[in-house]
């Protein structure tokens, strides 16, 4: 509030341009990578404290955590399975944020996607070739999630209702609605799940590589990678993606430039919902072959964490999904030593640390980069 910045004359921008490129690019990489690294460091310290409170050795717990996840084929398979779902919800949240929209409804969209896939799998004739059925179910999953995502999208675009609240409220509505349909009409007696699909199961990884025996990993993970590539292509290589990012950065400027802001917003949330819905394929077609109440629990909120740590970059999301999946699976591995709930605390600490570090790091890096640019300008 001192107002000194206004008194200092701004440096002439033209002369600084040639020199400014390298520091800005280096700054951008630092800006993207530093917060997650700082966050992991903080999480490790908090983890140490929790482990010590429980009277265990941190080194031993972390060794068991790694051995139980990346130390054997089953562990790797489980991490890949969990990372697949998180990649979808992470991509969903990241795409929304690129458009300046916060989709906290990924959990409901994921559940809706899985539910539609399961229902289509129940309706197709048993003789349908597996590939065809899987394809139809997958499209259904995207459609189910997309419809749930489109509702807050239209409410935002048409009525200006803020998507943070509508998506979170819609989570409860969708889960209650699906709960009612399953419990009143579709469940197998004495259970909370639907009957098994007749066709459309996705090949397990263990069917191809027997070492993965017992793990739930399946070929949906290729779909997740394709989705990451597709989101990257859409955001950075298409006109629609350019418009989407423009709306996310500066909606007024985008509107002035002729972008249909309302249209971009509802399409972005529908697309975001479709991505989250696709995650349902992993559980329904790849793992259990039915829809079960509660299968999506937590995956939506963790999707926010994954998008945040992955810095809303599609490949960053994939890496972050692997990190959070490792923690989730690692919790089960260390449960004999410390309560597995420790990893839930660590996941939350990572989110908090990244969320607080991002604005601080951005500020520090920008200040440093501005300093470099200014010295560069002086030299030339």
């Amino acid at each position: 509030m001192t107002g000194t910045e206004a008194i200092v004359p701004p440096a002439p921008p033209t002369s600084a341009q040639p020199d400014s490129a390298p520091p800005v690019r280096a700054g951008r990489v630092t800006e993207a990578l530093l917060p997650p690294l700082v966050a992991i460091l903080i999480a490790l310290v908090v983890g140490d404290l929790l482990i010590l409170t429980f009277g265990q050795s941190p080194a031993e717990v972390y060794r068991v955590l790694l051995a139980g996840t990346w130390g054997n084929a089953y562990g790797i398979g489980q991490v890949l399975y969990k990372a697949t779902t998180l990649t979808f919800t992470g991509l969903a949240v990241a795409l929304g944020i690129r458009a300046g929209l916060f989709n906290i409804g990924a959990e409901g969209q994921l559940a809706a996607g899985g539910f539609v896939a399961a229902v289509i799998g129940l309706l197709v004739p048993a003789a349908t070739p597996g590939v065809v059925a899987a394809l139809v179910c997958t499209l259904g999953a995207a459609g189910g999630g997309g419809v749930v995502g489109a509702v807050p999208g239209v409410l935002r675009a048409r009525f200006g209702a803020h998507e943070v609240i509508t998506t979170i409220m819609l989570n409860f509505v969708v889960l209650a609605l699906l709960g009612w349909i399953v419990s009143a009409h579709l469940h197998v007696p004495e259970s909370l799940h639907t009957p098994e699909i007749r066709s459309g199961a996705v090949t397990r990884l263990s069917d191809i590589f027997p070492v993965f025996h017992g793990s739930a990993a399946n070929l949906t993970l290729l779909l997740a990678l394709a989705a990451a590539a597709g989101v990257g292509w859409y955001l950075f290589r298409t006109r629609r993606g350019y418009e989407l990012r423009a709306v996310g950065l500066q909606p007024d400027a985008a509107e002035y430039g002729g972008v249909d802001v309302a249209g971009v917003r509802w399409r972005a949330l529908a697309l975001s919902g479709a991505l989250a819905g696709l995650g349902g394929v992993n559980f329904v077609l790849g793992y259990k072959h039915y829809y079960e109440e509660g299968f999506a629990t937590g995956a939506g909120f963790l999707g926010i964490a994954v998008a945040l740590v992955g810095r809303n970059n599609p490949w960053g999301v994939v890496v972050a999904a692997l990190l959070f999946a490792t923690l989730s699976q690692g919790g089960l591995a260390v449960n004999a030593l410390v309560p597995k709930q420790m990893v839930e605390v660590l996941q939350a600490v990572v989110i908090l640390a990244v969320a607080t570090a991002v604005p601080s790091v951005r500020h520090a890096v920008r200040t440093a980069a501005a300093g470099l640019v200014r010295t560069g300008a002086k030299r030339s």
């Binding site: 609240i165 509508t166 309560p339």
Partner: protein
Amino acid sequence: MIVLAFLAQTLRIAIPYLFAAAGGVMSERAGLIALTLEGYMLGGAFGAAVGSYYSGSPVVGVLCGMIAGGLLALLYATAAQKFRANQVVTGVAINLLVIGLTRFFLRLLFDSSSNSPRVPGFTLAETGSGFVALAVNPLVWLGVLALVLVGWLLARTAFGLRVRAVGEHPEAAATVGVRVARTRYYAVTLSGVLAALGGVYLALDQHQFTDQMTAGRGFIALAATIFGRWAPRRVAIACLLFAAAETLQIQLQGTRALPSQFVEMIPYVLTIVALAGVVGRAVPPAALGREEPA
């Protein structure tokens, strides 16, 4: 008699909502999104169970619960205000943090993954119903007064005026000398303490802490805050309305007249409808959730 039982049951269900929604109004009127109500409540419930268990006195439990909620709120305010962290992300993270921490310490202190041992509460009976059981519980009185207190603070005190100013237009407030950050810290900490009391009530009423015992009540309170358009009186009515719907569903359970899932949906659907502005548009405080306040 049936009417009285219905009213008593409604009040009993409404108390946690009234506490948490009072916190929601306080936080959102100061410009910080109250996604954290669920976390404050759960933290408050756990604090109450631990305090009451180790001291044998529910009063100590109440204090511990309030401290837990206040600390969580302070964490939220620090991240959102000092470090300019995104409020939605921080809110989600704090809710996850509380779930994880309460589970971890449930294992550490009570060696259980589901619940604490029985702890002393204000009422003798396990599930005291009827007005007598309610009237002897001081938390019920406090809960009824929570939104009245918040309404009085906001409308009649200088502090309340500052809270509203920083929630609507922080730059203007700063210009006339209001300390924006400090006002927000006070308001959010108070919101954490209030919401935590909702959790305290649950834990002491049920004489134990159970894993995730708040079960989404913080989000119902958030729905009530928005559906009541951030005005304490309307928010209180919303809380009672949601509680009455739940009571009705419980009373009708035997008759299978209405699937419980449809009653569960009521608060959320009403809130979405209110936000979309079909009947009387809900307009939030102007600076709510803005990432770079003054």
